[in-house]
Amino acid sequence: MSLPAPAITRNPQYMRLVHVRRRLSFVLSLIMLVAYVSFILLIAFKPALLGTPIAVGSPITVGIPMGLGLILLAFVITGIYVRLSNTLFDPLTDQAREAVRQALKSKK
């Protein structure tokens, strides 16, 4: 005795959850991908640019903060996703699950 899945996919709470979460996942993945591929393309086509000092006389080159920045970015955007999941998606998931449960019950 179960509710057909296509019916659940039309449930408003479910649709909202999936829509918002997919969009966030997509946008964050794209940010990571674009940042990383740009870095790789810089290495491939403009390696000298990454070797330019950040200030006259400094031993630190542009590539160093850029590379460390990428590591930091990876950590920060996973943090953003987890934070939004905890505060936004988990309640939505609970609502969607509850709606499905009610629908299953009333069908009985």
Binding site: I64, I71, V100
Partner: protein, 559 residues
């Protein structure tokens, strides 16, 4: 089982001491005939403590490993933070600790490029896969891929993808282990390989996922502690001024200012992008990593594990960068660590270990050596468990016995498989002693990115994927990745001795990964079969379960 375990333990210790005390290694070290260390007693003592502790855990875990779910996934009872540490433990292999710091030591900035590639796969894994994998799968990623597709072909393909990745990775680790332990501990190469293989078999067959997880966690904590201490001492040496560290390194390195810019690691745009793709998406297709998501209770814990893992792995790579630069100054200029020709004693991978000696003396050197050994053990155990699960759960229980094997039979086959994998790893480790195995980890990532990853991602997100498409795409990706590596300079020229490579690049992912996706898409679109239609029909249900939890569609408890 426990009796035999303690017997084995006792035997192992006896063996270890006998090896240490009576082997001809001491004589070799005294005569100076071999380029390895004398018997490193501090390191051996610390390593014996580690082995004793982990075998104790294995003994404890063996009493809690009864069911299939215990063996493959520690009963789902690992917390998000524990799993995050264990994932970090799985991922921070000796290759990344010693290899990346060595790369920084020899080429500076190039080491950073490598570590970034290894890290950026993690956010993608979190955003697209982690929670959905947990919601859909039980023990292996094949559970997810075969959720609505035909069991037999999909699980066979996934098991082959897993075993290929695991074996290549395992051989590379074994060869690295043998060489490293030979230098660090003064044990012979084959002794080291056998020791690693035997301990790995013990952890996995007796302690299953629970023991493997705790071995990973302990090792991750030790490694993070050791690397942090080393990086701290390096920074203290330069008065906590990174500019001073970089300028000293530039002034003493033979490549001078070139170490602050991209160098020779990536030779051309094709290789740059291809390597980048393999590292980024290969991570999301490594069976021993994917398996870790099934050890936690639910999607929320899976999500937390990736966040914790990403933090620790990123932090660790920053440490290896500091360690590499520290080694340029503190090791590269110290004649005590250099051979007559100016190369590093014991090989270039020893930069971090010598740095431990330079910054913390004999005791710290012993500690870091023991940690490196522990790291290898932990990583090979994770690999062996993933391989054994692919054999026992996917090939035996679901393909051969069509899901009709009893739990007992399945566990027995999985344990047998881990024994066979362990023996195979020892034999291959010894056989490949003098071979160049550097291409193997690269190939493992390429296969993971071109076979496992496309199948998982399409089966989760693309409604129209059918069995025909998945098999076509997966096979195409697998064959292209393997074929191109065989035809590439590393195998065709270096290993087989031909003059010119057929395929000029080292990294195949830029070709093999898109081919896998194209194959899967075309194969699915031309599939007009009835079963294909049923598989598309089943997507809605799979999607609901993957989004809000697998249990939600079951009838609610009556009350």
């Amino acid at each position: 089982m426990m009796k035999s375990l303690s017997k084995l333990t006792a035997g192992l210790f006896a063996g270890l001491f006998a090896l240490g005390l009576s082997s001809p290694v001491v004589a070799d070290a005294l005569s100076g005939a071999m380029p390895k260390q004398g018997l490193n007693l501090t390191a051996i003592t610390m390593f014996v403590i580690f082995v004793a502790a982990t075998l104790g855990i294995t003994y404890w875990a063996s009493s809690r490993t009864k069911t299939r779910s215990d063996f493959y996934s520690a009963g789902g009872g690992i917390t998000g933070v524990q799993n995050g540490l264990a994932i970090a433990g799985d991922y921070m292999s000796a290759a990344s600790f010693l290899g990346i710091s060595a790369l920084v030591f020899t080429s500076g900035f190039d080491g950073l490029i490598y570590s970034i590639g290894f890290l950026v796969g993690w956010p993608i894994m979190l955003f697209l896969m982690a929670e959905r994998l947990r919601n859909l799968g039980k023990y292996t990623f094949a559970d997810v891929a075969a959720y609505r597709l035909e069991q037999k072909p999909i699980r066979t393909l996934a098991a082959f993808g897993s075993l290929a990745t695991v074996l290549l990775y395992l051989i590379a680790q074994m060869v690295g282990a043998g060489q490293l332990i030979e230098v660090l501990f003064g044990l012979s190469y084959s002794t080291a390989v056998i020791l690693v293989g035997v301990l790995m078999i013990l952890y996995v067959t007796f302690g299953g996922m629970l023991a493997t997880t705790w071995v990973q966690i302990i090792k991750a904590v030790l490694l993070l502690f050791g690397a942090s201490a080393m990086a701290f001492m390096v920074l203290a040496h330069f008065h906590f001024n990174v500019a001073e560290m970089f300028s000293s390194a530039v002034s003493v390195h033979s490549k001078g200012a070139a170490i602050m810019a991209p160098g020779t690691l990536v030779k051309d745009p094709f290789s740059a992008v291809s390597l980048g793709l393999a590292l980024m998406f290969g991570t999301a297709g490594l069976p021993h990593i994917l398996m870790r998501f099934f050890t936690v209770k639910d999607a929320r814990q899976a999500r937390k594990s990736v966040f914790v893992a990403t933090g620790f792995i990123g932090y660790f790579y920053i440490l290896t960068f500091i360690i590499g630069f520290g080694a340029i100054v503190l090791v590269g200029t110290n004649p005590a660590f250099l051979a007559a020709d100016g190369s590093l004693l014991g090989g270039k991978n020893m930069a971090a270990v010598h740095l431990a000696h330079a910054t913390g003396g004999d005791l710290f050197f012993g500690f870091i050596s023991a940690v490196a050994f522990a790291t290898i053990l932990a990583v090979v155990s994770g690999l062996a468990l993933a391989g054994a699960t692919a054999v026992g759960h996917d090939l035996y229980a679901n393909v051969l016995r069509k899901g009709k094997a009893s739990e007992k039979e399945e566990i027995r086959v999985s344990k047998l498989a881990s024994l066979v994998l362990g023996i195979l790893a020892i034999i291959l480790g010894i056989a490949f002693e003098k071979q160049n195995v550097a291409y193997m980890v690269g190939l493992a990532f390429a296969i993971a990115a071109s076979t496992n990853f496309p199948i998982i991602i399409l089966s989760i997100y693309w409604k129209k994927l059918t069995t025909t498409g998945a098999v076509l795409g997966g096979m195409l990706g697998l064959m292209t990745a393997v074929g191109l590596v065989i035809l590439s300079p590393v195998v065709w020229v270096n290993l087989l001795g031909y003059a010119t490579p057929v395929f000029p690049y080292e990294y195949p992912a830029l070709i093999s990964m898109p081919l896998a996706f194209i194959g899967a898409i075309i194969g699915s679109l031309i599939d007009k079969s009835k079963s294909g239609a049923a598989e598309r029909e089943a997507f809605a249900e799979q999607e609901v379960r993957s989004e809000i939890g697998a249990d939600v569609l079951e009838a609610p408890a009556k009350h």
